[in-house]
Symmetry: C2
Subunit: 144 residues, 2 copies
């Protein structure tokens, strides 16, 4: 069993990793309970844009002044557990501008057709990323 | 672009799918904000057992009488978006019994060594699963 280490990633690198994958999971509160839905995403101008068909749960929460959600994406190998995870805390707002909705809808392929879907913009406030790496020979480390 | 459809899965099949993968994401509330951490898991006696090293965030919440968390696992193809997702809502409690901790620790390989970690048991209350499938020729459907 090889050891591995967890390295925190800077914000820029975290958002780049997030942008490099097509899907993630939006985390919100629904009727005072924790809720999570897998969705696909793009990044646009530093914001995370998602399109969800899974009911009105998040869209109703993201209406009005917006609501705080978490967004997570990862790429972790199921066998060796190496990879990365990025967690964003931000404000989610429903995209209402029709031109924006049309533009994002063209960029974000929905998963299921025929269901009502919505476009939501998440503005990242806190970005936390880490990478799980195989433990390498220490370079200038005094810990080992 | 092929159409696809979303099918809800029964509880038993959802838990079987969850047990078929090694990792998922635990969703909880931290300082009144939505939080999520990727973890690895096993199923034991119908409960989800996780071992987490990522700080005391969830363990402090799961202490005492337990706390409601969501747990999500999925296997969705990034290209065609086909696959499944299972979302469990349940009560999380810290495993304190030393024999149980030892047994689960042997079954659940931690991702990072040397960090303090805890074993948490999540008892599923609401289990929601769906599968995204390629849209097949309608059988007795009047929609197409």
């Amino acid at each position: 069993m090889n050891e591995r280490e967890l390295r925190e990633l800077p914000r820029d690198e975290s958002l780049r990793l997030l942008a490099s994958v097509a899907m993630g999971r939006v985390v919100f509160t629904l009727q005072a309970l924790p809720a999570i839905r897998p969705v696909n995403h793009i990044l646009d101008g530093g914001d995370i844009i998602i399109r969800t068909h899974l009911g009105a749960a998040i869209t109703s929460a993201a209406d009005g002044d917006g609501t705080v959600v978490a967004y997570e994406a990862d790429a972790i190998d199921p066998d060796d557990h190496l990879g990365w995870s990025v967690i964003v805390l931000g404000t989610a707002r429903l995209v209402r501008d029709e031109a924006e909705v049309a533009r994002y809808s063209a960029m974000l392929r929905p998963w299921v057709f025929g269901n009502m879907d919505h476009v939501i913009r998440i503005h990242p406030e806190v970005v936390t990323g880490f990478r799980l790496m195989a433990f390498s020979e220490p370079i200038g480390s005094s810990e080992h």
